[in-house]
């Protein structure tokens, strides 16, 4: 029952967001072009670099493109489903969060889906083409492909949960510390690193940081590794475990932040 209600609310918000965007069709078109341009820049960067080197930290061009594609899919899904999380800071500062708190629905869910960015679906479109190109050179029996794709989808789901949990964790800080600076900017710069193979982080401390404290290597590198190099049950287990722990911790952090919410501008 709750899930049906949640789905209904999400689709209503999606419809609203599309209507808002379509009120200014030229601007929406430019947003799509902008998202497309951003995605293409990453691809061009990879393609140009690989003109000079056959592989970077053990990844060739096609494999690196699969990592980029995987990241684009997860990022595209995040912004087309939960874009509003990144706007919690403004919501809190303007006192709008108060409206969400009094509604008969889970506040975290409402805040997550309040606005979605349909233009970011372009990332998923570009990523699908990239995956087609990147994986085209690999030849496996159909049954192996089916298994790989299932595991890949599971890891994409884990990546999505990790991204979402980190996004929530960073943005909840604004709820109890309104003037805490724009942490989202720092977060976005760190999370963007996930679009390149994690093996480029040659320093041991960086690897430990990006696989535990800020586990961004589980976003794109791990799913790409699975589909390119083959199944590693331990990595699948770690990915699922980290997704679960991230989600539980972010949920606890959210509830803690709400219990310290003092309302602003209202």
């Amino acid at each position: 029952m709750v899930y049906r209600k949640a789905c209904k609310i999400y689709f209503l918000k999606l419809k609203n967001s599309i209507m808002m965007r379509m009120a200014y069709p030229f601007n929406f078109l430019m947003m799509v072009v902008s998202v497309f341009g951003q995605a293409m820049l990453n691809i061009i960067f990879i393609k140009v670099i690989y003109q000079y080197v056959p592989n970077i930290s053990g990844w060739n061009q096609e494999q690196a493109l699969v990592v980029v594609a995987t990241y684009l899919i997860i990022e595209g899904l995040i912004w087309t489903t939960t874009a509003y999380v990144a706007g919690i800071r403004n919501t809190v500062r303007r006192g709008i969060l108060d409206y969400e708190l009094v509604k008969p629905m889970d506040t975290q869910f409402l805040v997550s889906v309040w606005r979605v960015d349909p233009e970011d679906a372009m990332r998923v479109v570009v990523a699908s083409y990239l995956l087609f190109v990147g994986l085209g050179s690999l030849s496996f029996p159909l049954i192996v492909w089916a298994g790989k794709i299932l595991i890949y989808l599971l890891l994409i789901f884990n990546g999505y949960i990790i991204f979402y949990s980190l996004l929530i964790a960073v943005n909840t800080v604004y709820i109890w510390a309104i003037e805490s600076g724009n942490l989202t900017l720092i977060f976005e710069n760190i999370i963007r690193m996930a679009q390149y193979p994690g093996d480029i982080f040659f320093h041991k401390s960086a690897r430990i940081f990006f696989s535990s404290v800020m586990p961004i290597i589980f976003l794109a590198t791990v799913p790409a590794k699975m589909i390119i190099f083959g199944l590693d049950y331990m990595l699948v287990f770690y990915s699922s475990l980290i997704a679960l722990i991230s989600f539980i911790l972010s949920r606890k952090l959210w509830n803690y932040a709400l219990s310290h919410y003092s309302s602003a501008s209202s």
């Binding site: 200014y24 960067f45 000079y52 056959p54 970077i56 900017l185 963007r192 040659f202």
Partner: protein, 265 residues
């Protein structure tokens, strides 16, 4: 003149209030610079030259390029101008005895101060950290030309932002357009990577536009990849573009005002 000095002081004070956002920007930049360092270090493990740059030159390009980027950045003036038009705030300025264009330019000077100081301080720190990799400038005269080109570059970038912001006269929501232009300018100015990566014809064409002179060209001058004479020619091209952009802004302003409806008042 006095009223514009007050505008600078006000914008500066406002930035002091929101300095935590500036510091957050800087921390984000630290992450971005370290990441670029990591990726280029990985690339240079397999090759000695990329786009004609050796490893030390590439690290220098990143550090000096970011420094110039911080100095020439106006931190979203296009958004400020477009918001003034969208919200109808522009009407307040139209009623006052000041030019909106001069207001935007002077306000921007006050607005960037904290960001500029923190950016320069951060890059001095990075220059110290990477002191063994950073290549020294070819000669002191080229540094003088770089200073000149960077100052003109700041105004070129500012004029472009004001111009892009004025598109709001024709379309009410320009957030998508501004974000598209921000990416385009960063790419065409060499903010992501040296423009040498472009095909030869595109590279030559890019030298006729103002963008390349914002980050890429002064960095090339620093690395001694272009001569001081070509550097001075670059300053001249930038000045010509500055005049052209000023003319375009004037035309767009007058035409835009005829369409202005004070939406949002």
């Amino acid at each position: 003149m006095k009223k514009y000095l007050i505008l600078i002081a006000n914008a500066w004070q406002r930035q002091l209030v929101y300095r935590s956002t500036v510091y957050a920007y800087r921390l984000g930049n630290v992450v971005e610079i370290l990441f670029q360092f990591a990726i280029w270090t990985s690339v240079y493990k397999g090759t000695d030259l990329v786009f004609g740059y050796n490893y030390n030159e590439m690290i220098t390009y990143i550090i000096i390029g970011w420094l110039i980027n911080f100095i020439t950045d106006n931190y979203g003036m296009a958004d400020v101008v477009s918001r003034d038009i969208q919200n109808g705030t522009l009407s307040n300025y139209l009623l006052k005895p000041l030019s909106y264009f001069k207001y935007s330019v002077t306000m921007s000077l006050g607005r960037i101060t904290i960001a500029l100081l923190s950016g320069v301080a951060m890059q001095i720190f990075f220059i110290y950290v990477f002191r063994h990799q950073i290549v020294a400038p070819e000669n002191i005269l080229s540094v003088a030309v770089i200073v000149l080109i960077v100052i003109v570059g700041y105004f070129v970038r500012l004029f472009l932002s004001i111009l892009f912001g004025m598109i709001a006269f024709w379309t009410t929501d320009v957030s998508g357009l501004n974000s598209f232009f921000a990416i385009l300018i960063r790419f065409l100015s060499g903010g992501y990577a040296p423009l040498s990566l472009l095909p030869a014809a595109l590279y030559s064409a890019s030298m006729f536009f103002p963008f390349a002179y914002i980050v890429f060209f002064p960095t090339q001058l620093y690395l001694g990849k272009v001569s001081i004479m070509i550097g001075l020619r670059g300053v001249l091209i930038e000045v010509v573009w500055l005049i052209v952009l000023y003319g375009i802004i004037k035309i767009v302003w007058h035409r835009g005002l005829k369409r202005y409806e004070g939406v949002g008042m």
